[in-house]
Symmetry: none
DNA sequence: CATGAATGAGCGTTCATTCAT
DNA sequence: TATGAATGAACGCTCATTCAT
């Protein structure tokens, strides 16, 4: 599953450029329009080289999905680590999470393109599941941490997980479609407030 | 904007079959894999006929988007009309809404495929906007009705609108990806409870 | 060969509109891009109607060629008739001929498109021959008239005919490609002067 | 602008064959009937290969136009170089020019098909302009040479240029339409004689 | 290690035309 | 008389991929 870059420096640089180009392409053109040819063009590489490094379109996108997932989850974790007082994770965290996620619109758009495609594309479904599982693990870790501090969730953890992921996806989609509107900001505030009420202190 | 079916009975039947096939195709294969050829095959019609009735792929999908939107919104309204005591719309309504929406998985999948594609496809974006506007109008109508019955929303209507749509889209996506799991059911219950608390009686 | 318009008024109007549209189309898009569909669109008529009135694309263009030829030759003859003193036909006539011909650039362009296509299109060759024969007849009539007034051509009539037609076509082409430049005007003056010298008075 | 042939010998041979086939096709079928498929067939190559070497039909024809122009102008210059005594260029040259030009009827027909198409085809217009500019440069060079030998043109050089090009195009068209008739020969003699009179010795 | 050559399948679209009624 | 339905063939072009070297 892990992508091992070619040993030579040039090879590493090129394959890296291809992955970047694929993410950019995904963000602007969507999954199915991100053809090998277009990605190669974006990367400034001969079309043939894409399949030289990645054997097939599918394999390339496996790597791309992983890359996007790592970046997205990495930003989430960085946002959470940034909180000095973990007691407030739920109540203040979402703001920072949102800030991080929307800092790279292209990344989000690329992610969403993959999510959407995964509804009708079995192979991609498996790959995208990787990212969702990351979210789930993160939420589980957080709720465990909260529990260890004596805070009990007022609702089932499974349901909470579903609601958080659904909330993030739904709000992300709203952001992609209509941008960073006041209504969206205020909706996020409400969502965040609700999250806080689910894990009351004491 | 409205689709005017061909004058003859046979023509109407054929074009109807093509639209249906397009919806089915969209649900199983996604937007870009729903080629004219495949749709024609699904409809049991010569490929050339699709372009006889619709002039271009784009025009066909304009009609399809509208069709999906009307069906989706129609089911929503039917669900709401089914409620005898409108005072309970918020507290009981979502259950029925969900029942209706998930009654046709293909329709939902098709809708979502279009939503996703619309992120990177300008033309589709406009068309899909038509459906979202329908949601918005419906929510606005409901909140006005609630207000006329003396119930005040505890949060900004704009933010509520965003949250409802984001919630529906997020939960829909969860449904499409993982099916009708207990966690999802329970998440819906929580969401519904929260909705009720936003518009308290009296 | 002659085109007999449909008996009804509406039919006559429509078929007339189609011919006009074909000429316009020919002028702007060239022969092969003047498809039945495009002509119908230009004429504001259902595509099917074109073949209703003309049976085939070929037949339509036969009529169109004849129409263009008649208009072009008609304008030539009108120009010559306008000369009060026929003795000066050669020396002053070309100016008026040129004025008339370039009065309708679209007509010229359409004519030239047909001439060019006729090089590789056997059927059209025959039709376009009709126009060239008209030129030839006109030149022959003129030289006969000159002879009857006691003026002798200093060169063979056949060669003169070729030179006049070649001159008109060549200058027409120059006009279509570069417009009505001073160099073209001055070239026409020279050509006209040479024509005058070919049929000296006395 | 220049066409860079593929690096390998086989590639060069193939792309050369395709260009040749395109010229032949152009001569017999005209521009718009010279489809990629037909050209491929003529070249004995898979249709897909044409687009492998040339990226688009337009690009192929750009190369073809240049090729035709170079051959045509090359033959003109060869004809002029063949004249030992440059003093007689005007008086004897046209004969040889004509001999050369009509030595390859297909080339001429192809050229003319392009000229005609260029009237209604913007892109081609630019390409064909390349050939016409070649003619102009050649004429300018000749008249400069004549001037350096103490012969003065009796008419404006610009007008002469127009007349020469118009003459060549008009006579070429006559040749393509009616073949090498005595009348055409005799017309050429007259034209040549007139050219001589325009640049009198001494 | 890297690249040119080659390919079959399919894309959306346009074409002139025939068959019904 | 006038129209809708239907069609097969071809168009230029893109696709992911394999075969050579």
């Amino acid at each position: 599953m892990a992508f091992s870059p070619p040993p030579t420096a040039k090879g590493a640089r090129q394959s890296e450029a291809i992955i970047d180009a694929a993410v950019r392409c995904l963000a602007t053109d969507g999954y199915s329009a991100s053809s090998i040819g277009r990605i190669a063009e974006q990367a400034g590489v001969h079309k043939r080289m894409v399949l030289y490094y990645f054997a097939s379109r599918e394999e390339l996108f496996d790597v791309v999905v992983q890359r996007i997932g790592d970046q997205l989850l990495g930003q989430l974790e960085a946002a959470l680590l940034g909180l000095e007082e973990p007691a407030d994770i739920v109540s203040v965290g979402f703001d920072q999470i949102w800030e991080r996620m929307t800092s790279d619109r292209a990344l989000l758009a690329a992610y969403f393109g993959l999510v959407a495609e995964s509804v009708t594309n079995r192979h991609l479904r498996k790959s995208v599941g990787y990212i969702n599982d990351g979210y789930r693990r993160l939420i589980h870790r957080l709720s465990a941490e909260l529990a260890s501090r004596g805070r009990r969730l007022t609702i089932d953890e499974q349901a909470l997980t579903v609601l958080i992921i659904a909330g993030i996806q739904g709000l992300t989609l709203e952001y992609l479609e209509r941008g960073d509107t006041p209504a969206l900001r205020s909706a996020i505030d409400v969502f965040q407030g609700w999250l806080g009420s689910v894990a009351p202190a004491r």
